[in-house]
């Protein structure tokens, strides 16, 4: 027998913090996951076009965007590049998204990538004579552990002393960057015969193998997409499974949504915070290892290239859902890869991509704006005001 639903009144009291509800919503309806981000991207491209008009003139828009699109999607080479750029973004985006789900704002993905990438490189050039099948997982694991350490520290500080992770992860970023500069000049790490800070190259046995070389096309050997992409997809599935199918994930989400209730339910908020930050750091560390072992082959100052910061943006764009993170990372990858082609084929510089990315985030962060512009119905039209009255 079905019961008549009672009248649903506004929820009172302590829900999850409202920023969390926005960045890691529980009910991901198609409107907020697909429509709003799509419209945000569209809006960003339109405003980006205005910038093109001002810098290069009206005629430059079409060729620029055409080049952007073809560089991102047309042909195997473009697709390979798009996914290649997306790979570390997926891993770092998962790191940030995992934190968001537990109510933690991990700004430190960049630093965790740095540490993870460096440790992975050291593992990559240190063990001579190992078969690739052993060496690659070992080097990736080294990156995982390096990032884990760099996430564990702010997790511990937050859980035990209350030091906010936003502050501590930012500080640890700087420590990681400067330590990298220092370590890269240490004997045994620095490449022989070099005087600038740059590491030895990793051994071929630890390089992540390319996965499109088998394609029956010309230049298939030049397609740079490597096995790290598959690892990243696997990790996205693991994070999804962890968050939604395990007791750990249940605890993480409960701690993020309402730490009081989590404590009441017998969960250890302290353990959850430390664990989430450690795992978050580990994912970012894998992103770093993915770059050094897959693309760069060595470590140099600033090798993380702000991927860890882009990760924050794309975790927001993907609503902190592993699937959303993958899609957002591919979008960012497309913008980056297409941007290079745009730079070469048209007058418009790649800096436009940075502007477009920033605009996407602005539109995502202000979904009401997008709703208003495009008159998307739904969302929260009620409850917003009354919440202030009841708490």
């Amino acid at each position: 027998m079905t019961q008549a639903p009672e009248v649903v009144e506004k929820p009172e009291g302590e829900g999850p913090p409202s920023w969390l509800e926005r960045v890691a919503p529980r009910d991901i309806d198609w409107r907020s996951l697909v429509i709003i981000p799509s419209l945000a991207v569209l809006s960003a491209l339109i405003v980006g076009a205005v910038f093109i008009v001002f810098t290069e003139g009206l005629d430059a828009i079409l060729p620029a965007y055409r080049a952007l699109f073809s560089g991102a999607f047309l042909g195997w080479s473009s697709i390979s590049e798009t996914l290649l750029v997306a790979t570390p973004l997926i891993l770092a985006g998962l790191a940030v998204a995992l934190g968001f789900r537990a109510g933690l704002f991990n700004i430190g993905a960049e630093g965790q990538m740095t540490v993870g990438g460096l440790i992975a490189v050291i593992a990559g050039f240190s063990f001579d004579g190992l078969p690739a099948i052993v060496h690659i997982p070992l080097a990736l694991l080294a990156g995982f552990l390096g990032g884990a350490l760099w996430g564990f520290i702010p997790g511990l500080l937050r859980a035990k002393t209350g030091a906010h992770e936003v502050i501590t992860t930012i500080m640890l970023n700087f420590i990681a960057f400067r330590s990298l500069d220092y370590i890269l000049k240490l004997p045994g790490i620095q490449a022989e015969g070099r005087f600038d800070p740059i590491s030895q190259p990793v051994l071929p046995s630890s390089r992540l193998p390319r996965i499109l070389a088998w394609l029956p096309i010309d230049g298939a050997g030049g397609l740079r997409l490597h096995v790290g992409f598959l690892v990243a997809l696997a990790m996205a599935w693991v994070v999804y499974w962890l968050l939604f199918k395990t007791t750990w994930g249940f605890e993480f989400r409960a701690v993020g949504a309402n730490p009081h209730a989590a404590k009441y339910g017998g969960m250890s908020v302290t353990v959850a915070i430390i664990l989430v930050m450690t795992l978050s750091g580990a994912l970012a560390g894998m992103a770093g290892g993915n770059e050094t072992l897959g693309v760069l082959g060595r470590a140099s100052p600033g090798f993380t290239a702000a991927i860890g910061f882009d990760a924050i943006a794309l975790a927001l764009l993907g609503r902190s859902h592993p699937g959303g993170v993958v899609l957002s990372a591919v979008l960012f990858g497309a913008l980056r890869a297409g941007g290079r082609t745009m730079q070469v084929q048209s007058e418009v510089g790649i800096d436009l991509i940075v502007i477009i990315q920033a605009l996407i985030i602005v539109f995502i962060a202000a979904p009401e704006l997008v709703r208003a512009i495009y008159r998307v119905r739904g969302g929260k039209e009620t409850g917003q005001l009354t919440r202030g009255w009841s708490t």
């Binding site: 649903v8 009172e12 249940f250």
Partner: protein, 502 residues
């Protein structure tokens, strides 16, 4: 002034919150609005206050149609609201709080004329017998006085119609009397008053006319002279309600919970609980009465492992649980219905399935290793929803979509559904409807009869009187009286609660 709501209908996705509601209030009368939680009272008042717009129907003031785009319009039209939760800035003084947002100014630069405001506040205070010092800092004032500041705020904005939303829930029985005197004074001064409460006795005492709202519709009006608690409750719920808890005399057996010389500090490091000792036996209900804020919250949190006591001991059977975690207590079959259900008892953004395994998810049958068995949890949830009559279209909706009474039933279902040796229930029926109260009280008595030791903490005297076999009164962190349930009277307990026994 005459305010009329005519034919007001408000729909939310899936529900009709208000269904052609008519309500009229005139100057100089007190209209009681009675209804279960979720009946649509809040929605109706939000429409009246300009927070929501009605889908159909109209608002008339003195016969002229008005339209409120926001609370500002409602205030300008002479409608004032005293909310259940006060909206005061604790570090400001009374005058500053009153004028906040409508500060009187003078001079071309708009200096705040605080002296003028102070005089106004003083005048309003004396005119209505509110006895509030305009210079007192709000955080130093007792709750009853803070409520009077809210009333001054409304009067300062020249309200003619005043809405009180559950105004007595934070007051002691003595304060309620003072408050009623003030409300009657306002009425005599010609104000129209809408009084929202779920307490039937108060409604009969204060209202001139009572309108009963059920599932969004006005189902009846009643005159306090002829109405009784029983027929009001029946109108509200739609079926006869048992207002007296039906229970046989307790048959206490062995001691289950024993608290000895417990001292607990609150956040400000005061001894909120001071040298408290008591026992609860299997098969009895012990009630702790007391005005909110006399250490009950800290006492329960210390027993249930949410905070650590400073000194003393807590035992369950022969096990020392003074420093035990909530998880440990869960394993010892302790059920805990927390005081603040939305803060501690539920994750509002989680669905019912998740909330129903909030404290038992970690073991079989809901998980194996770290892998959750959500199918099993879902089966469990569907079972409990049926068994405990939790009104929801689906177990997969979030807890925030439930009404207060159903949220409470959700917690009670979760806690009572397993083996219970000790039940600790804090404010088990606060702010929920009569039907749910009846149900939860019955379940508590059933648990007692099955051999559980039950500790009830409630600031509602009626509840303690109805349920408890033994009553302890807490005042300023100490137990100041112990009375057998059968001999206790509201008057005596009220005096103890106010510290008369000390």
């Amino acid at each position: 002034m005459r305010l009329e709501l005519k034919n007001v209908t408000k729909r939310f996705p899936g529900v009709v919150a208000n269904d052609s509601v008519d309500l009229t209030v005139n100057s100089g009368e007190i209209v009681g609005l009675l209804g279960e939680n979720g009946a649509g009272k809040t929605t109706l008042m939000n429409i009246l206050y300009g927070l929501y717009e009605a889908d159909e129907g109209e608002l008339l003031i003195d016969g002229r149609q008005v339209r409120f785009a926001g609370p500002g319009d409602a205030i300008a039209a002479g409608i004032g609201m005293v909310h259940q939760h006060f909206m005061l800035v604790p570090v400001f003084d009374v005058t500053e709080n009153v004028v906040l947002g409508v500060e009187p100014t003078r001079g071309p630069l708009g200096h705040i004329d605080i002296d003028q405001a102070r005089d106004d506040v003083r005048e309003i205070s004396s005119k209505y017998g509110l006895a509030v010092d305009p210079d007192a800092v709000v955080e130093d004032l007792p709750v009853g006085v803070q409520q009077r500041i809210e009333i001054i705020k409304v009067l300062f904005r020249e309200a003619e119609i005043i809405v009180f939303d559950e105004p007595t829930s934070v007051l002691t029985p003595q304060e309620v009397e003072d408050f009623f005197a003030i409300v009657r004074g306002l009425k005599e001064a010609g104000k129209g008053i809408i009084f929202i409460t779920h307490k039937l006795g108060e409604m009969l005492e204060i209202a001139d006319r009572i309108a009963v709202l059920r599932r969004g519709k006005i189902v009846g009006e009643a005159e306090p002279g002829s109405a009784t608690k029983e027929n009001l409750a029946e109108m509200m719920v739609g079926r006869p309600v048992d207002l007296v808890v039906d229970k046989s005399p307790a048959q206490p057996k062995e001691v289950v919970l024993s608290v000895k010389n417990l001292v607990v500090q609150d956040e400000r490091l005061h001894n909120a609980v001071n040298d408290v000792s008591f026992e609860v036996r299997s098969g009895e209900i012990v009630g702790i009465a007391g005005v909110q804020g006399n250490g009950q919250t800290e006492l329960v949190e210390a027993i249930t492992g949410l905070i650590l006591p400073l000194a003393g001991s807590v035992m369950i059977g022969d096990q020392d649980i003074t420093l035990a975690s909530p998880r440990k207590l869960h394993q010892l079959d302790v059920a805990h219905v927390p005081e603040d259900r939305q803060r501690d008892g539920l994750v509002l953004s989680f669905d019912l399935v998740e909330n129903l395994v909030l404290d038992s998810y970690y073991a079989k049958p809901y998980s194996k290793g770290i892998v959750m068995d959500w199918d099993e949890a879902r089966r469990h949830a569907d079972e409990l929803i049926e068994q405990y009559d939790i009104r929801t279209p689906s177990a997969l909706l979030t807890a925030s979509s439930l009404s207060g009474g159903n949220q409470q039933k959700l917690i009670v279902a979760r806690e009572f559904a397993r083996d219970t040796r000790l039940i600790i229930a804090s404010q088990p029926t606060r702010g929920i409807d009569v039907g749910s109260i009846e149900y939860i009280h019955q379940r508590i008595v059933e648990e007692r009869d099955e051999g559980a030791a039950v500790l009830i903490v409630s600031s509602e005297l009626d509840e303690v009187l109805a349920l408890a076999d033994r009553i302890l009164v807490m005042y300023r962190g100490r137990i100041v009286a112990e009375v057998p349930g059968s001999e206790a009277t509201a008057t005596d307990l009220g005096l103890f609660m106010a510290g008369a026994g000390v």
